[in-house]
Amino acid sequence: MLFTSYAFIGFVILLVALYYVLPKKAKWPLLLLGSYVYYYFAGWKFLFFILAVTVITYVAGILISRNKARADARFAEMKRLEKSGEGDPEKVGKEARKLYKESQKKTRRRIMAIGITLALLILAVVKYTNFTIHNINGLLSAFHVSKRIGFLTILKVTGISFYTFQSVGYVIDVYRDRHEAQKNFFKYALFVSFFPQLVQGPISRYGDLSKELYTPHAFSGRVVGRGLERVIWGYFKKLVIADRILPAVNTMIEAPESYKGVFVFCVMMFYALELYADFTGGIDITIGIAEMLGIPVKENFERPFFSKNIAEYWRRWHITMGTWFTDYIFYPISVSGPMLKLSKWSRKHLPERMGKRVPVYLASFVVWFTTGIWHGASWNFIVWGLGNFVVIMISQELEPLYAKFHKKVNTDGSTVYKSFQVGRTILLMSALRLFDCYRDVPLTFKMFGTMFTTWNWKAVGNGTLLQLGIGRADYVILILGTILLFAVSMAGRSGSVRDKLEKKLPMPARWGLFTVLFLVVVVFGAYGLGYDASQFIYNQF
């Protein structure tokens, strides 16, 4: 049941109506039931996977929470006994308490490790088994061994990367005492499976989402209307822009030999637009539906293409994934015992600047490798992730040079310089995304190279662009759609565009505006609303 299918739209209308009609007590159970029905239609076998991840992380959370409560009570009792003089100082004194606290923490850490290992193991088996076999076969071939391992038929489980990460984050947060474990299994199951964000995120934190998820919201025309506005805007991005440009991208990447040079540049730019409209459109639909139910979901984008550099871009693109990696991988690795030792050593033995940065770079390397492989089990994504790592590290290392440049040339407030920075970010990110397009890593490098070796820039004007599966009318719609996208992004710099519309326009005018936008989606959507046009790109991750 894709977001763009009639079935999904019917499902959402029914669910929202039922949500507001049913009594308070039945609201969150309805969301749980709805989420499982939604996932059932995505693939009934998927239910086993989500149930397994839910049970594992639920049990881990409960065990950690129980241990913490027990340990806290015992610690307080030891303190009381010491104060009253009833206990043996050796057994209840400061040192004994410290040892007890540490041992209990160790127990909790063990439970956490087992829980997240099991959950990640399911993800690893589903996602990476055949990739591992492929690489082992590659090695066997390199060593001239004729034996090969056969590939396994493994189900491609939609959304598993998203809800596994969300659940793992939950267990770590319970361990870190950010919140208590959810005792009600069904409530926890809703947190893991909440349907709008099940297949492409955002990756929510329990502390952010849970309260509103279980709160029974009363009907508010304003809230439902605002959610609906965002949903329509999401469909506009997906159907009018992303799906319309998709055939052109596919035509060029499926026949790389015929589309070199300037066409690779076109792939870069077209795919950047497609992915942006596809992913942000999908997230708009997700957040909009949740909003219609009165549930705020964390934003996943903050106008990423307006970023000055790639590090900033990654703070503004797929934000919930970025913060997940920072909180649960980057920080723990960076401040782990061995890393702090390495930091001490490198600062003593290496030049000051480099010495300070060695641990950060090592941790970043792990993060970007993981980010790459999270996106897909292929070398394309791994190289893409490491490509991001290299660019960010280079820009970090060049910082003193930039500082020197800025001392000599005042760029403060310069629109030209800002535009240069934004343009540079767009070009770099789009170039790296070529790994997402072409079939393998060598081909991607080769195609990138043709931009500098095949001088066919004149081909842009000779009508070839009209033979990529989209015609003149499509380009006109795409250009107008992109201008609207850009204008809304610009307007969004100083706050929510919907807030502004609400302040400036009376309700009938606003509704008129969104009705027009809805009609635009119906008329100019690539295949018409309801047609199962194409899967959202991030569904596959």
Binding site: Y331, L340, R347, A363, Q396
Partner: protein, 76 residues
């Protein structure tokens, strides 16, 4: 506290750490800065700030960070 301010100034000399209260939320300190900060603190104060303490509230101001260091010193 003065020594902590000194460390912070080595990272971003142009910030007034006596008054700033949004070092993380205001995007003055990024994750790279935070890691440098944590390893400097480990070095100079002999206090290990673990990942569970790495939340914006603990790094938003020099005072919050100082309080954290003292809390961790007490724990030890």
């Amino acid at each position: 506290m003065d020594e902590l301010i000194e460390i912070l100034q080595e990272i971003h000399p142009d910030v007034d750490y006596e008054t700033a209260t949004d070092l993380v939320d205001g995007k003055i300190l990024d994750s790279f800065d935070i890691i440098s900060l944590v390893s400097e603190i480990a070095d100079r104060f002999d206090v290990v700030i673990s990942a569970e303490h790495m939340i914006p509230e603990n790094f938003n101001s020099a005072k919050a960070l100082w309080d954290l260091i003292q809390k961790l010193e007490d724990d030890e």
